[in-house]
């Protein structure tokens, strides 16, 4: 029994490390400036990167399956704009919320086919998608922002039990995906495919179907992230934050998903996304000169990664 617990802890090592780091950060900054721990600020931290955390869940699936997606930032941008255009052109709000999911799934299923059936390595397929989506977005919108969004559209501003909806989405999606990955044959197939595609084939698991499904799910989750992104403010930008894909990938890998495939959980990436938001907020509270903000972020990410490596070596 204790062995089982050790194993469980071993496989959740990175998640625990992240929780410890987050708590330590909260304690430290909270001592320095108690306002950091105010309900308001904690909420902001959780809301701040919620759409990144949600997108990182899909990314984790992709990485666990042994692939990568560098086009997710552009996809979120495209889907957000589509959602905004639908609603400003008089389509019902529910459609504007749902369409990104469906379209995201469809677009990424296509990418998945390219990877699975045409054997284009995922980084190449998604690099290409990055170009196509980000270029296409500008061509399509001409750079106009979307404003004049109707009331009731701002899904990300809703609250349930006084908790903002992005937090619910973040937690809900994490639990759902965590469950999917652990308790369904599909989830296990994702690990199998990422760990050894040839062995997966020999075990009767279809590599192609699994990869296409992973990408489709990732696209749908990207659609949710896009809706959260689009509905947080009263305008929708027609450009994507620069380097969003890297932030999402970083959240995934700092969360303990092995870039070599087959390893990791979705909980880690959510924790990592929260950690990033907490770091960003902390540095302002600690009066770290904004010039050095990014350097400190880099050091913290590096430290987390190195601590993880040290931990893995100790536990073998």
């Amino acid at each position: 029994m204790s062995r089982r617990i050790t194993h469980a802890l071993g496989s959740l090592g990175q998640e625990i490390l992240l929780v410890v780091v987050i708590l330590a950060l909260f304690a430290f900054v909270g001592t320095y400036n108690p306002r950091f721990l105010s309900e308001n600020n904690l909420t902001s931290i959780f809301v701040g990167n919620a759409y990144i955390a949600v997108a990182a869940i899909g990314m984790s699936l992709v990485i666990i399956s042994g692939n990568i997606d560098v086009s997710i930032g552009a996809l979120i941008g495209v889907l957000a704009v589509i959602s905004g255009l639908l609603v400003t052109n008089g389509y019902p709000i529910w459609l504007a919320w749902l369409a990104p999911l469906v379209l995201g799934a469809a677009i990424n299923a296509l990418v998945g086919c390219l990877i699975a059936y045409a054997r284009v390595p995922s980084i190449i397929a998604t690099l290409a998608m990055l170009s196509i989506l980000s270029g296409g977005l500008i061509t399509f919108t001409g750079g106009q922002w979307i404003s004049g969004l109707p009331a009731g559209y701002q899904l990300a501003q809703f609250r349930l039990l006084n908790v903002p909806s992005p937090v619910w989405f973040m937690i809900g999606m994490t639990v759902l995906a965590g469950f999917l990955m652990r308790y369904t044959t599909f989830g296990r197939a994702v690990y199998a495919v990422g760990s050894n595609p040839e062995a997966a084939r020999a075990s009767g698991i279809s590599y192609k179907a699994t990869v296409v499904k992973v990408f489709a799910i990732h696209g749908a989750i990207g659609g949710i992230a896009a809706v959260l992104f689009a509905t947080q403010l009263q305008v929708i930008q027609s450009t994507v934050p620069v380097g969003l894909e890297l932030v999402i990938i970083t959240a995934s890998v700092v969360g303990g998903v092995s870039i070599l495939g087959g390893v990791g959980t979705v909980f880690g990436s959510t924790l990592a996304a929260i950690l990033f938001a907490a770091i960003g907020s902390s540095l302002i509270f600690l009066n770290v000169s904004a010039y050095w903000l990014r350097a400190v972020q880099g050091i913290l990410i590096l430290a987390t990664v190195l601590a993880d490596m040290a931990r893995r070596r100790r536990t073998g």
Partner: protein, 506 residues
């Protein structure tokens, strides 16, 4: 009795290379049908066709008399055709239990993966193979080769096979494990399962097989009931000629001390090992799986440098902190896991053979490809490697031929001390004889050879002295004349829980 599985007139080619030509094969329920042949004869290829992994260009597969075409392994599995693959298709990042059940996990009523049942059933299966120490929650990446082989077997057993195909399931197993596996096979046979059994080990074949089919160069030489063949006749069917002496060990006068270990330890794995190895000597190392033989070899070779003790080469203490230093000291190591440690499968034969001596093939650090080509051509000839040419990717060669490439690679370093870790694992009888002959020849030339083998007859047949390891320690050193299976076996097993006798190691 109608055959359950029948292959008719199967032909298969990889590009221009014909691998199988018009092969017929049939399998009846409740029989063990052995498949034999030299390395590269096409056994694995035939199996993969039967399992839906490869598609044959010609011929047909009949299942229960009906012609079938499998689109992939999944369809074959659905019909109960299960394969233990030669190259161990496992998921390194996942747990043992999951490896056993991936693709057909037990589910709860809600259709979810039932982890508890999965772990329990995996435990039961492993217990059936008598490996109680194998933790079902362990990651497979941390298992030894032997344990992986057990997992692979457990995986095949976990599916309810009608046809169980085992491609060299015992290659990585020691005697005791083989016994247990054969028992399991007998039981399955009595339950009516049809079994295809591939092995290069004669004694297993005679013990378990009902019929045997021999492949030679992609052609079926014939199928015989086991009672109608002898070891000699089987060998001549496989090789096309007679082979008489299986272990052609010649006596070579013992030369000066080449390698000496004094109290070498690798903390926690190998403890306090001392012995000496002489020029012209073949020193066998016997031991149970997991007794630390491989770790010892890798310590000497600098992969995991010793944490204490001294290693002397030619009487002088040498610091061996890396593979490079070991090579420079004249040590070569043929690893047991050739796919992982021995070869770069995606690269041509030529580049593999030259890999360990690249620095000697260069001028101003530019590789002299002419000399490299010669080296490779020589190796192909000397070891009779079956390859299209020196440019063929090593990954495309059969297992035995890959092993020869590893040997060639290490002999190219012109070593003084050669460590062979399971040198003939998965190698056909012809090649095995050749390798044994080669070992004798090398010893005669003054090479000092350290040979690890889990095949007791091989150790006893080839060694001048036998060093027995148990739980990371030296338990005995036995001279050739005293080396009987009983003596060595006893040293391997004795007092598994008692502390080793002090004097034995010295």
């Amino acid at each position: 009795m109608t055959p359950i599985l029948e292959l008719k007139n199967i032909s298969k080619a990889f590009g221009p290379v014909k691998v199988l030509t018009g092969v017929d094969f049939d399998l009846r329920p409740g029989e063990v049908h052995a498949l034999m042949g030299e390395n590269g004869a096409g056994k694995s290829t035939m199996i993969r066709i039967a399992a839906g992994d490869h598609r044959a260009e010609e011929g047909e597969i009949r299942l229960d008399g009906e012609v079938r075409r499998f689109a992939g392994p999944r369809e074959a599995q659905a019909e109960g055709i299960i394969v233990v693959h030669q190259e161990l298709l496992l998921f390194p990042a996942l747990s043992v239990a999951e490896n056993v059940f991936l693709g057909h996990q037990p589910k709860t009523a809600a259709g979810l993966v039932d982890w508890g049942r999965m772990r329990r059933e995996a435990r039961d299966l492993l217990d059936r193979l008598d490996c109680p120490n194998l933790d079902v929650d362990q990651k497979v990446s941390r298992l030894s080769v032997a344990d992986r082989q057990r997992v692979e077997i457990a995986r095949a057993l976990s599916r309810n096979a009608r046809v169980l195909i085992m491609d060299e399931p015992t290659a990585a197993l020691a005697e005791a494990d083989v016994r247990r596996l054969l028992e399991v096979i007998r039981r399955l046979r009595s339950e009516g399962v049809a079994i295809v059994y591939v092995s290069h080990r004669m004694n297993e074949i005679f013990e378990i097989a009902d019929r045997v089919t021999v492949l030679r160069d992609g052609v079926s030489v014939g199928t015989r009931p086991i009672g109608e063949v002898t070891e000699a006749s089987l060998v001549s069917m496989m090789v096309g000629r007679d082979i008489h002496q299986l272990f052609p060990k010649e006596d070579v006068p013992r030369g000066e001390t080449r390698l000496e270990l004094r109290g070498v330890s690798l903390a926690g794995v190998v403890e306090d090992i001392s012995f000496d190895l002489h020029a012209g000597e073949i020193l066998g190392i016997a031991g149970l799986v997991g007794s630390g033989r491989t770790e010892l070899a890798q310590t000497i070779f600098g992969v995991t440098p010793a944490t204490s003790g001294e290693i002397l080469v030619d009487g002088k203490p040498r610091k061996i902190g890396s593979v490079r230093e070991a090579i420079d000291a004249g040590i070569a190591y043929v690893p047991e896991d050739r796919g992982l440690h021995g070869l770069v499968r995606a690269q041509p034969l030529r580049e593999n053979v030259s890999m360990a001596i690249l620095d000697r093939l260069t001028r101003y650090s530019v590789v002299d490809t002419g000399r490299e080509q010669n080296l490779a051509s020589d190796a192909i000839e000397r070891f009779s490697i079956r390859a299209r040419d020196a440019r063929q990717r090593v990954g495309q060669l059969s297992g035995g031929n890959q092993q020869k490439v590893v040997l060639a690679k290490w002999l190219a370093t012109d070593p003084k001390i050669l460590i062979l870790d399971e040198p003939t694992r998965g190698i056909d009888i012809g090649a095995k004889t050749e390798i044994h002959r080669l070992m004798g020849e090398l010893a005669k030339k003054g090479l000092a050879i350290l040979m690890i083998s889990s095949e007791l007859p091989e150790v006893l047949g080839m060694s001048d002295r036998v060093l027995v390891m148990r739980e990371g320690r030296l338990s005995a050193i036995v001279d050739r004349k005293d080396a009987t299976p009983d003596a060595v076996g006893a040293a391997m097993m004795q007092g598994r829980r008692e502390p080793a006798r002090a004097g034995a190691a010295r």
